[in-house]
Symmetry: C2
Subunit: 364 residues, 2 copies
């Protein structure tokens, strides 16, 4: 098969460590599964700031745009915390989302059977949990204008952000969510604050219209964001697919992830629009951050990064079988009792990043 | 002592039912504790819409403004769900907050010992949980201008909201939170998204300045809202006092409440500024909604409304001893095994609204 162009952006903190385990899986696939990846590596975040003065250099954006898929690590750390707003490492990911048009962030919140006891929730409430959160990532209050801090006539500072959503922005991410719901249990929960926000009112209306016109077979439920947070924290299994804007999607997807108790296990994908050429920009990243407190210690969990690569194989390259192979390997390693520190529980064997990565490779 | 002027606004759904139990406690206090309340009752929400066409009639605002304290029930229900935006029952509470300048919403998330098993979290994670969330309630994206839905040049609808915070708005609610923290464990967590929002950046700066200048004895921690949601859902006991803007405060306080597992038990207070006259507008309400699905069935839990009244006695009237009496009575009733449906667990005695109210009264 034709070469698959992959851009790898390890970033900061534990990013490079966990990415190293993915590289070994890629090498294995090159040898055993007769797929060849054309792998490039780039810089982003604090690493890029240090090297170039920009958290997302133009060369990185260009390389990401050329690639068939981007595998992203994580960015940020105390070293860059006091830099001015326009030099935050976070701009690494924000600019990639915006410049590549990556508007649909898919965030699974899944509890694997061997890890049900890692959750803070009572096991019976999370066992078998499998939620997909679809978050809009190129609009809303993250990018709306005007924004800034100015001084008013009384000499006081005023901070302003603008939440803006057009009906087209809402409809296209809604379609992504409806499509996913259709392949699952045909149930979609759309989240906003239509009772206090105008953009929420439009969100509710447009999602309703798209559902009625194009997805009458999918059951659509509207829910206020505050209520959704409550429901997630009390009866998470009532949900299947959840759709939200950039800000609510951010908070609720992190909440859902935390409820699983296995942050170090969860991948994510952020997709752009399907282009006429059949190409679709896509970026894959673990949902955990750069975890500066444990970086360099060799104890980080590589599974989320590995599973992000599996998600990449499935969604960007249609390699379902290979994705499944990797996912099964990870599950088997967990079932066998190996645990990194983040998911450790009594009676299991505590291992570091490399041993975990090697175990997955051995299962493969 | 001088008469205390109390305005009671039962509202919709279960509001009137649970308020009835408070009325009995007020009657008891009038007789036994030689305090006289001058109680007025007003209309708000759907009830007010039906009666006057407005969810918050001017007379209600005037009566609230005259009263020493307002005890609020809850508003909303399916009957009014399809009304235009400017006739939502929610305007009942939003207008009262705005017109009375009720900017500081205090939301305790407390797990009473007898109810530790009502939480979805594992008991050891929530036993003894006692968090106070301070939420700004007259600013931010709830009220910022411009806001609305318009049609752009391409004929597409665009929804807009504006998040605005001035340094004064941030500082005054921060002081409320710092004052509370000072009386508790001297630890305050301030929440925003300073990494993506300009108002969040200002929020972080101003809270930091107020802390440094006026509360050097309080340990201040800044946390992103998404991370706070994660931390609440995994290790809630790390928090003591949490401060947030209108929107994050809304979602996070509901999340914290849900984690306790006893929504039907939680009161809240919303305070205005202390006026030169020594008067301070204040509104007290249970955090549960109008619960239209169980309204009229006599099964709603009256405890949150009763505890809201206790909070009123303490914060508006300085009647600590009476407040404590009521709180202790509620705890004793729970310890005795009585449970309404919402907090029912095996081996307890399930009772309705009136029996629960009577039991509290009997303890008194
Ligand atoms: C790093 C930060 C800007 C980002 C966000 O808020 O979107 C992060 O929380 C995420 O969810 O990817
Ligand atoms: C009723 C609604 C407008 C309100 C809000 O969002 O503030 C509610 O959720 C609350 O927290 O009191």
């Amino acid at each position: 098969p034709a070469n698959k162009k992959l851009l790898i952006l390890p970033g900061d903190g534990i990013g490079p460590e966990v990415m190293r385990e993915v590289r070994r899986i890629i090498d294995w696939m090159d040898r055993r599964r007769s797929v060849t990846f054309e792998v490039k590596e780039g810089i982003v975040g604090g690493a890029a700031l240090d090297a170039t003065g920009s958290p997302c250099p133009d060369e990185t954006v260009a390389a990401a745009s050329e690639a068939d898929a981007v595998l992203f690590g994580s960015v940020g750390g105390p070293k860059w915390d006091s830099l001015p707003f326009d030099q935050r490492p976070e701009l690494g990911i924000l600019r990639l989302r915006k410049d590549l048009g990556l508007f649909a962030n898919l965030r699974p919140a899944v509890v694997l059977d061997p890890l049900a006891d890692a959750s803070a929730l009572r096991p019976e409430l999370v066992k078998g949990l499998d939620i997909m959160i679809v978050r809009e990532t190129t609009g809303g209050i993250y990018f709306g204008e005007p924004r800034g801090i100015h001084v008013n006539e009384q000499g006081k500072r005023v901070g302003i952000d603008t939440e803006v959503y057009s009906e087209d922005e809402i409809a296209r991410v809604a379609r992504v969510a409806f499509d996913i719901a259709r392949k699952r249990s045909r149930k979609l929960t759309s989240v906003e604050k239509a009772n206090v926000m105008q953009s929420g009112r439009l969100w509710r209306a447009v999602v309703g219209e798209v559902g009625k016109a194009e997805y009458p077979d999918v059951e659509l439920q509207h829910m206020y964001a505050d209520n959704c947070a409550m429901q997630l924290a009390s009866r998470p299994k009532q949900f299947d697919v959840i759709l939200g804007g950039n800000l609510f999607g951010d908070v609720l997807s992190d909440l859902a992830a935390a409820l699983t108790g296995s942050l170090g296990m969860l991948p994510s994908a952020t997709l752009g629009a399907m282009q006429p050429s059949g190409k679709r920009h896509a970026l894959y990243e673990p949902i955990h951050g750069s975890a500066p407190d444990i970086a360099g210690k060799g104890i980080a969990n590589p599974c989320a990064q590995i599973l992000s690569f599996a998600m990449l194989l499935r969604l960007s390259f249609g390699m379902d079988e290979d994705a499944q192979l990797i996912e099964t390997a990870v599950e088997k390693v967990l079932a066998g009792g190996l645990r990194t520190a983040d998911i450790m529980s009594p009676g299991r064997a505590r291992v570091g990043t490399t041993v975990m990565g090697e175990a997955v490779l051995r299962e493969l």
